[in-house]
């Protein structure tokens, strides 16, 4: 780790001010990606702005047909939240699959979404559920937010404050893990919304989370795993590495999508 200056933000405005004025700043939320990267000397921010003591950013609330989760909410708190479990059980389930217990007790939803790791779970949920990412400056639709590998629509001085998820009619997530990292080799989140059906895929794509229109069409006719049988997506655009070829990932997208649909149909998703 290189030397850096640590700043403890006392409030959101303070954090935003620090972010504006400091040289080469970086926001620290749960630190589950940033700190290991810094330890390996792969990241070297000059100034680190810690949001840990900022209040009011880790609340989970339900209003009308949506659930809003504060950006500093830990994965474990999303996983265990009665509100999330009741309104969007697939999202609570997803949060319980992230990392290991230590990661889930430190890592935050805002940090994960801002990082946009191509193998992370939350981006798939945000995209499939049509979430809105709220920052200190504006509201960004998930459709506009995820821009590629570790890239988002966030401006350099923007901080995610909360994420609002419209409650779907039903939703399901199926994660196929990389055996080593246990990140998603392929993860598919399927949401049946009042107006549309969305299928969002994390892990598989070579440029981050993406939707599968052909699967969405097929599910619109009938929301059943059977509707996806025999459908394929091209291996072009899939990632390929020592854990699996592009063909394997393309194949897994279909398998995971069918299993996600099946999970959405179950009353209580598996723990």
């Amino acid at each position: 780790m290189y030397a850096f200056t640590y700043h403890r933000a006392t409030g959101l405005r303070h954090a935003a001010n620090l972010l504006e004025k400091l040289e080469d700043p970086k926001i620290l939320a749960g630190g589950q990606t940033l700190l290991p990267t810094m330890k390996q000397r792969l990241a070297s921010p000059t100034n680190l702005i810690d949001l840990d003591k900022v209040e009011g950013m880790s609340e989970i609330t339900a209003a009308g047909r949506s659930v809003t989760i504060g950006a500093l909410t830990r994965h474990n708190d999303v996983h265990k939240s009665p509100i999330v479990q009741q309104a969007i059980p697939a999202l609570a389930y997803l949060a319980g699959l992230i990392g290991d217990p230590a990661v889930r007790h430190r890592g935050t939803i805002g940090g994960s979404v801002a990082n946009n790791d191509p193998n992370a779970d939350y981006p798939a949920a945000c995209l499939a559920l049509g979430a809105t990412i709220v920052t200190n400056k504006r509201k960004i639709a998930a459709d506009e937010f995820f821009k590629g590998l570790f890239e988002t629509a966030l401006e350099p001085n923007e901080i995610i404050t909360k994420i609002t998820f419209p409650v779907p009619k039903k939703a399901g997530y199926y994660k196929f893990r990389n055996q080593a990292s246990r990140f998603a080799l392929v993860g598919v989140f399927v949401a049946k919304r009042p107006s549309e059906i969305r299928v969002a895929v994390t892990g598989a794509g070579s440029s981050g989370v993406f939707r599968v229109p052909s699967f969405e069409e097929a599910l619109k006719k009938r929301f059943s795993p059977k509707s996806l049988e025999g459908l394929t997506i091209p291996a072009d655009g899939m990632a390929s590495d020592i854990h699996g070829s592009a063909e394997y990932r393309a194949h897994l997208v279909n398998v995971c999508a069918r299993r996600a649909v099946a999970a959405a149909d179950e009353k209580t998703p598996a723990e």
Binding site: R41, Q179, A180, S181, F183, I242, Y248, V255
Partner: protein, 789 residues
């Protein structure tokens, strides 16, 4: 059996300190004025070092000193050595290239250290290291062992033409060829025994301190054998005479073989401590461990099994290429030869065997012993062949095994090993029954209903433990006989310090060794303190590896206890005014036979030190005895493991759904610890078979260099294991112990792959059978089937 004696499942004495964070590992030790050392490692697999510019770095804050490989070479220290000479077929000795602690002139693998920075803090050392400019000329690299000796492969060391270290063989070529000519059936398989990264929980570490007053060096080191480390560092590297060098191996958090060897880092730390007159500490980071700990396995093998019309095995032919990496590590030459090919008879009476092993250099991390060391590779060859043969002949694999088992002992194999005792049928039968082998068909149909493919596989393995009888291994080229020592120091109050040359790094010696002493002397195990891992305290010993501490280490303790008892009887006879021959020692009491006159152990111990009115011409005061035990043969643990898997054909995921292990370890001191060893071994074997994938790309970069890409087994990769035992005592040591530390890792890969190939209906899949690999195999099979239709 007493509550804490031999055979009792006593809880491990050492665990309280380990699980409450009170262990003292090398990195926990800090010395006043301690500096930190950082190793600058080659980022290239094969590169000429044209120039190293350290000028800017030398001026960085906190820097104590910077030393390049060339500068270190000026110290004229010896190279690191491989201590076991292997001769090629033509009688020529192996081609061992120099292995300097810091690379000179060129780097031969990614991770090869080329320079060091010593600084006040580790961060300062790292900062300075980043300013060192190494001018590399990148050379072509070779990583594939099957290409290393081929035309066009870059030459790694001048000392080894064609990158070939030796072309070794064992067995009778002509007789084996004849057996194959007369065979009714031949089964042939090709396989890769995948390279593994050891990944002990505690990374390697070294802390060296120099006392300028006494000119003594002390090394705290995460090592499995402190005495051998001292011997090699002293006698071969020449850092200091043995009497001026103390090696302490404090608590060590796992080794699995990787901490047997003498590595560059401890040598350089010692040298730097004296050079800069500062204690110097190094602790590997995990990513550093991946490219600097000796790896395991890495064989490519073609093997053929000949059978007659009656399904008797008549011959075995094996051709193996073993990748030893960029340098020869301490015991690397022996692993793919004496520890591998001598076990190729498996549990079977195979009249003719011929095996050839070519060992090659490649631009990869050195390869050496890793849990099982050669024996998992041998078991894999034999057990995969036997299983495949049974399938080809449409026989029950259990029946084919039974038909060919060695049934009478001692049995001289065709590959030097002399099996002393065993009952292979007994362990197989017991495993079949515990596993409900008969119910497999029903379970398979149930899996089918759920869209899964179920498979079952056996491994009836044998291994050679208790390394090593000096007379045998000396003939085989070992530079050292691997006997063991023990000293029993009785205190005046009757408690005991037991000093052993073994070293515990997870095995539970503080408990099991105490159980032996406690039972013999009739005292509590809390009254026995096991001392190990310090060359200033303990007499010379050989350390712990190769499942030797029970069979060899405890035999030495028995010998020392015999001596203690003999002397104690003399003292008892004096105290009780009886003839020595009339003294009986039982349950902690010395009694004059046939009388009620006795003296308790504690009283006797005190008397030994008070020595009141001793006839000192006959009895010396004190009670302390040392013994050295050299085994007469290896021990041969064996057993039967059955693995059952369920494959999800949609994803290629293999789930291990059933496991039965019935092992014959001879006498068991602590069944709970032994069961734990089986669990750990099986987990490692399952890791090799399903998860652990060491991938080098063509330019020699280790692609799977972190836990993001290298999958270690976790608890949820395993089912509950059914572990049981059969017992035939080992005739060559006093306790009848065979050893248990490696069995699981030896049996498991073959059992898993036999189950997977059974499920898939093809022999063509290599380890690790990752989901992607299994899925691809299924796609390939489907294509072939479609084409056939």
């Amino acid at each position: 059996m007493s509550a804490t004696g031999i055979g009792a499942a006593v809880r491990r004495k050492e665990d309280l300190r380990f699980i409450t964070g009170k262990g003292q590992y090398t990195d926990d030790v800090s010395r006043p004025g301690q500096a930190h050392i950082y190793f600058v490692r080659s980022p290239h697999a094969h590169a000429r070092i044209k120039r190293i510019d350290t000028k800017t770095a030398a001026g960085m804050p906190g820097v104590v000193g910077i030393v390049t490989g060339a500068e270190f070479a000026e110290s004229k220290l010896g190279n690191l050595i491989c201590g076991w000479t292997v001769l090629s077929k033509d009688g020529s000795p192996m081609k061992m290239a120099p292995h300097p602690a810091l690379a000179v002139g060129k780097a031969c693998h990614v991770g090869d250290p080329v320079a060091v920075v010593v600084a006040d803090t580790l961060a300062q050392a790292k900062d300075a290291a980043e300013k060192i400019n190494v001018d590399y000329e990148i050379l072509p690299a070779v990583v594939d062992p099957t290409k290393a000796a081929g035309k066009g492969a870059p030459l790694i060391h001048d000392a080894a033409p064609n990158n070939t270290i030796y072309n070794w063989h064992i067995g009778d070529h002509d007789a084996t060829a004849a057996a194959f000519r007369g065979a009714k059936h031949v089964t042939k398989l090709e396989f890769v025994n995948n390279r593994l990264v050891p990944n002990a929980m505690e990374p390697r570490a070294a802390l060296a301190e120099y006392d300028a007053g006494t000119q003594h060096l002390t090394l705290w080191n995460a090592t499995q054998n402190p005495h051998v480390a001292r011997l090699v560092i002293s006698a071969f590297v020449g850092i200091a005479p043995e009497n001026k060098l103390r090696v302490i191996a404090p608590d060590v958090g796992g080794g699995f073989g990787s901490k047997i060897f003498i590595y560059p880092e401890e040598v350089v730390c010692l040298w730097a401590a004296r050079q800069f007159n500062r204690p110097v500490k190094w602790t590997a980071e995990r990513s550093e461990s991946f490219i600097s700990d000796a790896h395991g396995r890495d064989h490519v093998t073609t093997a053929e099994l000949a059978l007659d019309a009656d399904h008797k095995i008549t011959g075995l032919k094996v051709k193996t290429v073993a990748n030893l990496g960029a340098y020869m590590s301490t015991f690397s030459s022996a692993v793919p030869t004496f520890l591998y090919a001598t076990l190729l008879s498996g549990q079977y009476a195979i009249p003719h065997i011929y095996a050839e092993v070519d060992a090659v250099y490649t631009n990869t991390v050195p390869v050496d012993a890793y849990r099982g060391a050669g024996r998992p590779e041998a078991t894999f060859v034999v057990e995969r062949l036997v299983e495949a043969a049974a399938r080809e002949l449409d026989l029950d694999p259990a029946d084919l095994r039974k038909k060919n088992f060695v049934k009478t002992f001692p049995y001289q194999t065709a590959v030097a090993s002399l099996y002393d005792a065993g009952d292979y049928n007994a362990s197989l039968q017991k495993a079949l029954q515990i596993h409900d082998y008969k119910g497999f068909g029903k379970r398979k149909r149930e899996s089918e209903k759920n869209g899964k493919i179920r498979g079952i596989g056996f491994a009836t393995y044998i291994e050679a433990c208790g390394v090593a009888p000096s007379s045998l291994v000396g003939q085989l080229g070992a530079g050292v006989g691997l006997w063991e020592s023990a000293e029993v120091r009785v205190n005046p109050t009757g408690s005991v310090e037991l000093l052993t040359g073994c070293h515990a790094h997870g095995q539970g010696h503080e408990t099991t060794f105490a159980q032996l002493v406690a039972e013999r002397l009739g005292i509590g195990i809390d009254q026995v303190n096991v001392v190990h891992g310090d060359t200033d305290k303990v007499q010379f010993g050989m350390g712990t590896y190769g499942s030797r501490s029970g069979a060899v280490g405890m035999s030495a303790i028995v010998k020392a206890l015999d001596k203690v008892e003999a002397k104690a009887k003399k003292i008892a006879a004096h105290l009780l005014e009886a003839a020595e021959g009339d003294i009986v020692f039982k349950d902690g009491k010395f009694t004059v036979a046939g009388t009620d006159r006795s003296v308790a152990w504690g009283e006797l111990a005190l008397a030994a030190y008070v020595a009141h009115k001793f006839p000192t011409g006959e009895i010396e005061p004190g009670l302390k005895e040392t013994a050295f035990y050299d085994p007469t043969n290896f021990t041969f643990p064996a057993g039967c493991h059955i693995c059952e898997v369920e494959i999800d054909p949609e994803t290629g995921v293999t789930s291990v759904v059933g496991w039965t292990a019935v092992d014959d370890f001879g006498t068991v001191i602590n069944p709970m610890i032994v069961e734990g060893q089986v669990h750990g071994g099986v987990a490692q074997g399952v890791g090799q078979a399903l998860l652990e994938h060491t991938v080098y790309n063509d330019s020699g970069q280790l692609v799977s260099g972190s836990y993001m890409d290298y999958a270690m087994p976790r608890a949820d990769n395993l089912p509950s294991l059914k572990v049981d035992m059969t017992v035939t005592k080992c005739p060559s040591n006093p306790l009848g112990i065979k050893g248990c530390g490696e069995a699981g890792a030896i049996a498991a890969p073959a059992a898993v792959m036999n189950a997977i190939t059974n499920a898939l209906g093809t022999e063509k899949i290599d380890m690790p059978a990752t989901p992607a690999a299994v899925w691809s195999t299924i796609q390939q099979l489907n294509k072939t089937r479609l084409a056939a239709e």
